[in-house]
Structures are given as structure tokens and as C-alpha cells.
Symmetry: C2
Subunit: 363 residues, 2 copies
């Protein structure tokens, strides 16, 4: 079934190296999904395994009162001379790290999950392990979203943990994100007679000045502070070097606290750009409340020990919270190093994450 044999018995640190070295850029997850499926078939008879495309879902069916879903994505962003991974010392902290593509985002998290999936045949709660494809590309390709649509019955749970890098602490919920195309119109004219036209690029200046002066809110949601952001991420306009431009387009990205729903976020954008000719929402994803008031979440926070913080980037926890399942991010690795060419994960953080998760699931 798989040409590549994974060996979780060597522990999650070694398994991180094994997983990273299976090339698995988005769209090419077949080999790694095959390898995960094979190791479960061989070593985890206590799990019922389902395959959906390159997503692997493995469930205990122990009849426990509560069920926890634990998910991680198998793909990485493109490699940039940073595979195979190697052992190094962190240039800033001196810690022992595994260096290379995927170490942070998120093969170390997947390794911890896979070690525990094989090991824990009698956990305190029923478990649904999910390893999925296409997380690093556009939302409509996302393997977790696809599997949720295809097999919703497999995803029922009381709590969910996404193994996205969070420095081994709990990062609750996530900000929402919305992108809009904002256009300013003008009237073309020869630039030798500019007063006969209306310069659309000049018209956009006021909006950029407002963005520059804008102080994004810090919003407390369920005790965690979410910092927002409203930014122009692209701008374009112009016809030729001697023509007054009749169109200027600004692409805006709004990151908003999970206390706002999509309609409220859109309202903020439309009000901010009330002077524009058109405002078109081109991408939207709701935030997720941290959900830390759920009993299982509180127990998990206690087990991990460190105080939880807000997740600022959008993650797939929002797909769980959209189903009414409280969900948090919990994985080894510094999220600021995700996608970086010098991506690297501290070995001690992989081990600590594994310990915390094992202790809680066995309690």
C-alpha cells in the first residue's frame, strides 16, 4: 500500500524527521497519506480508519461519554532548499532544533498525534484523529472541509484540538479574515491636459491616509485579547505614462475578532470605504471564539498548565467552531517561523507537547 514505512516507535521527535522528509507540498499528499494509513493498519488495530481523498480519519469506538477530535494537515508550502531536514542548534536560543520545511507547519504536530494515535488504545475519551490535505492553499480545496462535507457523521465531537504551531501553549479560537476589492473611478484624459480628466489614483489617496491613521481594535473575547488589522495588501491603477488614470483598485484585508460575525465585518469595511465607487467582498472566513468555557477545554487548559492566548491568524479551528465544537490550537513550533525558509522546531517543545497531550488523554 505504501512504499514509505513510518516508524512511530522511535518517538515523535524522530517521527517528525521521517514525516518532513516525505515530500508533501499541497496537491502532492498521496505518498504521506498512504504512509499514515499504512502505519495505522499495521500498528493501530484499535482504530477504525476511513480514507477520503488524501485525508485519513481514524476513530476509537470505545463508547466513552465524550469524544475529542484531534486534527493536523499533512501538506506543506513549497520547499525552498530546506529539505531534507537536519538537526541543528537554534541560532538565537542555542536549543536543539530540527531545521527545515514542514518542521513547524506542521509535521511535528502530526508526529505527536500519530505517536499517540498508535499508542493510546484505552484513552479516557473517545478519539477522532484526522490528518488532512490541502490546508496551505485556497479554502475551497481544504481536505478537512471536503471530508466534513462528505462524511459529517465522522466528525461529531465535544471538543477539538488542531495541532497548528502554537509554541506548545493553547491558542484559543482565531480571528476572522475578509478581503475586499475597493475601486475608485476617474475619467481618462491626456496628461498634457489633466484638468479635463479625473485622476482615480489621486482619489484613492484619502482612503490610504485613513488606513495609515487607523488604529485597529484590541477585543477581549472569552478572556483572550484579539488584535485586529485593516490593511491594503495590493494596489493597482494606470493606463499609460501620458494618460490620467480612470481606475484605481485597492485590495484590502480585514482581520477581525471572533466576536464579530461576517456581516458585521463587512459593515466595517463598507463604512470605512464609503467614498469608494465599488466595494466587492472577494473572500471571507469567520473567526472562532476560543470556547474555553467548555468543560473539556478547561480540563485541557489545566493539563497544559501555561495560560492560553488568542490565535490571531485564521486556522481550521473555525471549521470546528462552525459546527458548534469548541476548538483550540495546540502544537509545537513558533507560528512566526511557519513558511519561513529557516523554519525550525525545538526538540524539547515536541516532547513537551507529546507529554501534555498524553497526560490529558490518559487522565
Amino acid at each position: 500500500m505504501s512504499d514509505i514505512a513510518l516508524d512511530p516507535s522511535l518517538g515523535s521527535v524522530d517521527l517528525t524527521r521521517q514525516l518532513c522528509n516525505i515530500f508533501s507540498v499541497s496537491g502532492e499528499e498521496r505518498a504521506i497519506a498512504d504512509a499514515v494509513e499504512a502505519v495505522l493498519a499495521e500498528r493501530a488495530p484499535h482504530l477504525t480508519v476511513t480514507r477520503d481523498g488524501d485525508t485519513v480519519i481514524a476513530r476509537t469506538e470505545l463508547g466513552r461519554e465524550r469524544r475529542v477530535a484531534i486534527a493536523g494537515h499533512l501538506d506543506t508550502v513549497p520547499v525552498n532548499g530546506n529539505l531534507p531536514v537536519r538537526d541543528e542548534r537554534d541560532p538565537e536560543t542555542g536549543e536543539a532544533v530540527i531545521w527545515g520545511r514542514g518542521t513547524v507547519d506542521m509535521k511535528a504536530g502530526v508526529a505527536v498525534q500519530l505517536v499517540l494515535a498508535v499508542e493510546l488504545d484505552d484513552p479516557a475519551v473517545d478519539l477522532t484523529w484526522i490528518w488532512y490535505d490541502h490546508e496551505e492553499v485556497s479554502s475551497d480545496l481544504n481536505g478537512l472541509g471536503r471530508a466534513l462535507r462528505n462524511r459529517p457523521e465522522l466528525f461529531a465531537a465535544d471538543f477539538a484540538i488542531l495541532g497548528e504551531p502554537s509554541n506548545g501553549t493553547i491558542e484559543g479560537g482565531c480571528n476572522g479574515t475578509m478581503r475586499a476589492l475597493v475601486t475608485y473611478a476617474g475619467k481618462r484624459a491626456h496628461s498634457a491636459r489633466s484638468w479635463m480628466g479625473v485622476n482615480a489614483i489621486h482619489r484613492a489617496g484619502a482612503a490610504l491616509e485613513r488606513l495609515s491613521a487607523f488604529e485597529a481594535e484590541r477585543v477581549l473575547v472569552d478572556g483572550l485579547e484579539y488584535r485586529e488589522g485593516l490593511n491594503a495588501v495590493r494596489i493597482s491603477g494606470g493606463v499609460a505614462g501620458n494618460v490620467i488614470p480612470d481606475r484605481c483598485e485597492i485590495e484590502v484585508n480585514y482581520r477581525f475578532a471572533p466576536s464579530k460575525d461576517l456581516a458585521e465585518a463587512e459593515g466595517v469595511i463598507r463604512e470605512f470605504f464609503a467614498d469608494a465607487d465599488t466595494v466587492e467582498i472577494v473572500d471571507r472566513a469567520p473567526g472562532a471564539r476560543p470556547g474555553l468555557d467548555a468543560p473539556l477545554a478547561q480540563q485541557f487548559v489545566e493539563a497544559v498548565g501555561a495560560p492560553p492566548v488568542a490565535k490571531l491568524g485564521w486556522t481550521d479551528v473555525s471549521r470546528f467552531s462552525g459546527l458548534g465544537i469548541p476548538a483550540v490550537n495546540f502544537g509545537p513550533g513558533n507560528p512566526l517561523l511557519a513558511h519561513a525558509d529557516d523554519e525550525r522546531v525545538p526538540i524539547a517543545q515536541i516532547e513537551a507537547t507529546e507529554r501534555a497531550l498524553r497526560n490529558w488523554l490518559n487522565r
Copy 2:
């Protein structure tokens, strides 16, 4: 020598139609230059003809005290379903017009010149007729510039008339033009943590606001009013929908009165964008003073009758004034219709231009 026979004996209106219907988009002037050279060889034994690429120079050598150079370009901008030309009524004024590509810019002017070149074998001044290639494309290809470099001795003159469309009135001199690339730098960051970056597009906002508020000067030069303009003609910036952009580039076009030299114009741009990270001048062409105090110019103004006005767009008169030769624009056609898909020239204006020029040259 030429497959296409021009017949100037039918008059400048008919010759306009003949010239327009010889396809002559910039770079493809061979056929029309051949036709002009052939008609001069056949019908203008009083002219000494020189060919430089697709530029034709034809001179009287009568030993007159003064010499006037009269020039027009043979090329057009690309055709857009507007050839062959046809006779129509102007939709706005009801006048009889010739409609189609090249009628305004500037086959009607060339036709008037060619009729008079063949006819005037005993003018009051010596004449240098110049029909040249590559006016509608980048300045380094310009046939007038090339011929001036190759055969400067042919261009000595006391006064020059460029047949660019000017509604049959004298448009004196021209504004200068300068383009600059102005860049604002920033620092990339993930848009989920925008405060860790510096948004270059936001930084450009203040400059656009200043441009928007800017009141360009009106400058009197030798009695004519030149209206300036400072405009963003292009803008671009941005990396991806989730990245704070680290660079925003504005292309600016400054049209400045001929009382300013290139260094002064550059100074205006650099002062205006003092907050930018880089300002690179990418294109520059000096203006031309109207030179209406020259005796020949004053006689020409009297002969035409209508009061002269300032030429706002940049034209090749600047190449003559750069040689110290006073030069004006004088040709049939509304310059606002040049390059337009509904380019059209009033027949009465072609005839009036021909009359005024003939009367003056015969006086």
C-alpha cells in the same frame, strides 16, 4: 520607386484622403515615404531631396536671406477599424469632415505641406520641407531626431513650423514633460500580525493626498499661458492577499511650462516627493518657449490672423527650439481628437490652413 502614386494636383483635401489610406503605423512608413519621395522627384524639380531612413527632406536653394523649416510626421498610431477614411458630417458641429485614422494626427497637415512644396517654386524665403517617421513611439526612435543627428547641416533655419494639429491656429512652443518612479518602502509581515510590518501602500497615501490637493501653476511665457500638471499615472504594490506590502511604486508625470529647464522640473518633483524612499527620473523632454518675438514668427502670426495660444502637449517643436530655432505648431485638426477612434478633420480647416501658409510663404 513607389507603387503608390500621390496626386497633389487634386488639392490638399483630396491628398489628405490619399495619404490617410496608405497604411503607415509607426515602423511601417516605408510605403508612404517612398510615395512622397516619388511625387517630389516627378513634380518638384525645384527641390533638392535627401532621404534618411523613412524621413524625406526637400530643400529650395534660392539664396534667400531667410529659411523656414516646415515639418510633419508620416506615421500614425495603430488603426482601430477607422481606415479607409470616409467623408462624413461632424456629429457635433455638422461640418463636412474627413473621418478616420490619421486625419488629425497628422495627414491633413502633411497634405497641406506637400501641396505647397510642389507648388511653391519661388517662395519669399528658402524652404526646408521635412516629412519624418516614428513620431508616435518612444523618443529615441524619432525620425526627426535621427535625421538631425545624421545630417545637421540640412536643418539650419531661422524659423520652424511643425504641422501638428492646432485647429488651424498657431500654438506656440510646448510644455516640457518628465516622468518619475517614486517608491515607498515598508516591511513585510503576515497580515494576521500587521503591526509587525510597515505597510508601504499606506505610506504612499500622503503623497496621493498632496497630488489630489495640488493646484498646478499657470505660467505666462512670452505672452502665452502654459498650464502645468502633476499626476500619478500608474501605481502598483502588493505581494499577496495575506502579506503586508513592502513596496509601493507610483509613476508620476509632470508637465511643466517652457520657462523651467529640466533641472528645475526635476527639483519640483524631488521636493514634492521628499518623503519617498527613492525618486528616479525615467523620461524627460524639455519644453519649448514659443519664440513669438522672432521677426518671422511675428509676420506669420499676422498672416494667420487668429491670436496664438500655448501648446500644452509636448511636440517636436522642442527639437527645433533646442537648436535655437523658434518654432510653432500650425496644422488643421483638433488635437483633442488625435489618437481617438473617431478622429476627424474639418475640410474647411484644411483649406484655411493651406491658404494661410501659401499667403505667408508668397508674401
